[in-house]
Symmetry: C2
Subunit: 562 residues, 2 copies
């Protein structure tokens, strides 16, 4: 008789733990208690079901050959006992027993265990706003949430949606709602989307992209009330305006579901998640926990953090199963990676931003570059922006942000791996990434970013990020902005709202004498490759106070003059 393993939660970490255990422990008896009706579904796919990209909700819970991963499947194929609609309410650690309520019958049941796995996930936060109990006020976290939201949209009555909260979940739904023909507004107390994930410049890149799609973003506004009429949502009232709405998505964050663990006396970490060791074990040696309900190590800071992601949950489930099966296995932590798509734009992050790195005590430097993802002569070539961060002392890559229409996910994953492997920017610049025109430029954008940061750190290039330029000018700096694009480009691409002079690069050698040597000069072009040439030419000609604007006009996150 093998050990009895009881798992609370059957979506990501729980399902993975169970499946892995059945594969590697030929004795274990595995039981899953899931409070919801649905098992082992792709939670991250819910926005795509709402948006109609995924046609049937069952597609999110089938195997690749179309078999639904329901109770019957788990029992018959996997020999795992599954009880859906069973809500675990109490862990009796002394007697190795869990009490659960069968939500269908209301009956209380006992489940004994040798090893227990807590995979209770997280829950969305519902602000206690007036009107938040109206039927068309949704959260989007579970399959049931998605079914309700899609049904509301399918009814045809919903024309205007307001999303409260500019975080990852809210932003992932914007495209879905737009694709369904809704007019979408977003309200956030900060001035840009994704404030917890990326830095202000990258938040503004996304903001501009959303606005270009007709999305309204009301930043620095606080929602006061969801106004209803005859039991239907009519508008969302903020401290600055009233936004007409037929539907509201409350996306102000999620919280780990730790009540049952806390009640059982298990330790909770500072981040709010259940505290586990590197084996994913709680302070009770017979109880493991994983997925959205636990906190994890950040591999760069060593600090505990909370990163509720399906990918992390799956990796942790594997580690838990291994340890229960007697195979020593550890979960080293996360790199703080996140990614999302909005329309044709990708935005993502790994590791630390420069500001986060400095806060952690690193002597961090960063650079922003814009580059084609594949050569400009290939069809579908598109730009991506990368901001790369490294430590000045060790030169190790500390993190990166990516944005753009180009294939930014690949570059992000190269950088995730670089962070994990402890690559220096020098190693990264010479990493032998795969080159052929359908896949990258001869020097990949990641190579280019590493080289630019080397130039900057080695004092070969003095540069300012867009945010630095804006802030310094607002603080009184008065540089001359030397734009080396063609006049035609300025008309189509727009211009910085500062003191600019246009000298196309080809004319700079002869016209440089017209420029002041006693005034700071900022050079740039569309992506600041010519801007970097201009910097070099001016330096050659004896100009000492020259800076490159990183990323050029394409990397500018703010309004341009057109």
């Amino acid at each position: 008789m093998g050990k009895k393993v009881l798992i609370i939660g059957g979506v990501a970490c729980g399902g993975k733990t169970a499946a892995r255990l059945m594969r590697i422990d030929s004795e274990a008896e595995v039981t899953i208690l899931e409070k919801g009706k649905y098992l082992s579904y792709a939670g991250c796919g819910l926005p795509f079901y709402v948006g109609g990209v995924v046609k049937e909700y069952s597609d999110l819970m089938t195997t690749p050959i179309g078999i639904v991963r329901d109770e019957n499947f788990f029992r018959k194929v996997k020999h795992i006992n599954v009880h859906t609609s069973h809500m675990a309410t109490k862990i009796d650690r002394k007697n190795h027993n869990v009490i659960a309520v069968d939500l269908t019958s209301g009956q209380e049941k006992n489940f004994s265990y040798d090893k227990l796995v807590i995979a209770t996930g997280a829950s969305p936060i519902r602000l206690p706003l007036p009107g938040s109990d109206l039927p068309e006020v949704f959260t989007l976290w579970t399959m049931s949430d998605a079914l309700a939201m899609r049904a509301a949209i399918d009814s045809g009555k919903v024309k205007r949606a307001v999303i409260i909260g500019g975080g990852l979940i809210g932003m992932e739904v914007v495209e879905a709602l737009c694709n369904r023909g809704l007019e979408v507004s977003v309200v956030d107390i900060l001035d840009r989307p994704l404030p917890a994930m990326i830095d202000p410049a990258f938040g503004r890149y996304l903001l501009k992209a959303l606005q270009s799609k007709g999305v309204h973003f009301y930043g620095e506004e606080r929602v006061l009330e969801i106004v209803g009429h005859n039991g239907e949502v009519k508008s969302v009232k903020t401290d600055k305006r009233e936004i007409p709405a037929d539907m509201v998505l409350m996306a102000v964050g999620v919280r780990p579901n730790t009540a049952i663990a806390k009640d059982a006396g298990l330790e909770i970490g500072k981040s709010g998640g259940i505290l586990v060791d590197e084996h994913m074990r709680t302070n009770d040696p017979d109880i493991y926990a994983g997925g959205d309900c636990v906190e994890v190590n950040h591999i760069l800071t060593g600090r505990k953090t909370w990163q509720p992601m399906g990918s992390v949950a799956n990796r942790q489930g594997r580690v838990i199963a291994d340890n229960i099966a007697g195979i020593p296995s550890t979960f080293p932590g996360v790199a703080g990676t996140a990614i999302m798509r909005a329309f044709e734009y990708t935005i993502g992050k790994t590791g630390l931003t420069k500001e986060e790195a400095i806060k952690e005590g690193y002597d961090a430097e960063a650079v922003t570059i814009v580059n084609s993802d594949i050569p400009h002569f290939m069809p579908n070539s598109a730009l991506i922006t990368i901001r790369l961060v490294a430590d000045k002392k060790t030169r190790r890559v500390l993190g990166a942000q990516v944005f753009g229409k180009g294939r930014a996910d690949k570059r992000l994953d190269i950088l995730v791996t670089a962070v994990t492997g402890g690559l220096t920017i020098d190693m990264l610049g010479n990493t032998d990434v795969a080159y052929a025109p359908p896949y990258s430029t001869a020097l990949d954008p990641v190579t280019h970013a590493a080289n630019a940061l080397k130039n900057k750190m080695d004092n070969l290039m003095r540069s300012v990020s867009p945010l630095e330029l804006k802030e310094k000018i607002e603080e009184g700096w008065n540089p001359l902005c030397v734009d080396v694009r063609t006049p035609e480009e300025i008309i189509t691409q727009g211009q910085l709202p500062y003191d600019c002079v246009n000298i196309p690069l080809g004319l700079l050698w002869e016209k440089a004498s017209e420029l002041p040597k006693d005034r700071d000069i900022v050079t740039y072009c569309k992506i600041s490759v010519r801007g970097w040439d201009a910097y070099s030419i001016l330096r050659r000609l004896g100009f000492e106070k020259v800076f490159v604007l990183e990323g050029g006009i394409e990397g500018w996150p703010f309004e341009l003059v057109k």
Copy 2:
């Protein structure tokens, strides 16, 4: 007065060295001698020009804003002296002088230098076959080659093309020629394409893909003659057949252009390329060399190798410029990365194959997996095959091959970075790669490959690669192949040509008793995820002689029975 830097060759490494020098050395005077008419063009883009994906040849030599990088551009914008159609013929090291012939006038000229850079590139090998001097016998290496080849196709007279050589350049042109409506045949002395780059299984994946597009591949055949009639190509005669042809591409390899270096007494390495140190310096401290004409370190083996790639040449140009400018800089080497696209298929490699690793003294293990690139519920989800190699002792990733319709380039670059960073498979399995449904599965294919290799190395899973299964059966092994797909899948996907029994996974628990316990069993399904479940179930049921067929039917490189 700054130092005089003379560069022989102005395509990739030469152009990059010059541009970088002008940016970082405000004194240097830079001169380029280029024997051809064209400068700084994207050689890797030539097949796409031939195929019509790139409309104008000038697109391959313009900056992203459309300015042609010709002599005038280099002189005016970069202040670099460029002499095209100037063939350097002799290096006088003692007097720091290079003699070049102006190919337009026939005049000999002298160019003095303080520092010399040899970036003479490589040249395609032309087999001295009868008929090889016919006008429609091409090589594809330079812009002039591409212009001639495209002109021949544009003439409308060419209907059938024969490519001699199944290497990277030949294979890169197949799609181009097919896209132009030509009937394409490939002849190689080996039995599969890309024999120098990838292992036999992956060569066969590409072979099957090409054949599915109507391309003829005549393996294990030797070309004896290109038969002409009235000065036109009529056919290609091999030792087995005569293939009608209106045009021939000779793609049997390239050789580094080292004659001028050799004549000057510079050391040539064993691989045939110019020998350079980590600073890209030859045995003459005033002479650097880079690009296709030099040999490089392989970062895994430490051996010298030759990897003629535009990306490598560009990275080396930067290192050369830095060193000339007095900034100590090194080129650590290459990881043996290569990639190409054929139609919708990607094929690539980094590091070592298992066989190469064993030859280098590693105790190497490998696994082949097939996985969706993004979740099956997302549009455009497609399969990719990864073969991952690691060292059993250190568990470090040694290399990988990728193939498939899915986004395999991203996975390859993750693996390149893992090889560079010295990641173990354990680290790779927990690398926090970015997950959202448009970009990856919850466990990315790379994570999945790392986990599968961990299972294999840790003896949790016994498996055979497709090649191993075929070879062992040919040597007399007689396993029962237990196929756990549905009967419908077998009809559409085909079946292994061996002794197979079909038990859909859902029936395996009850039907396993019908299977022999004293005979070796090989389990599989479409991609062997259910095959791995079946393995686990049979192990649970007391079967000891069980193996998983890695990659399943999708990973099978040979013919299937339909």
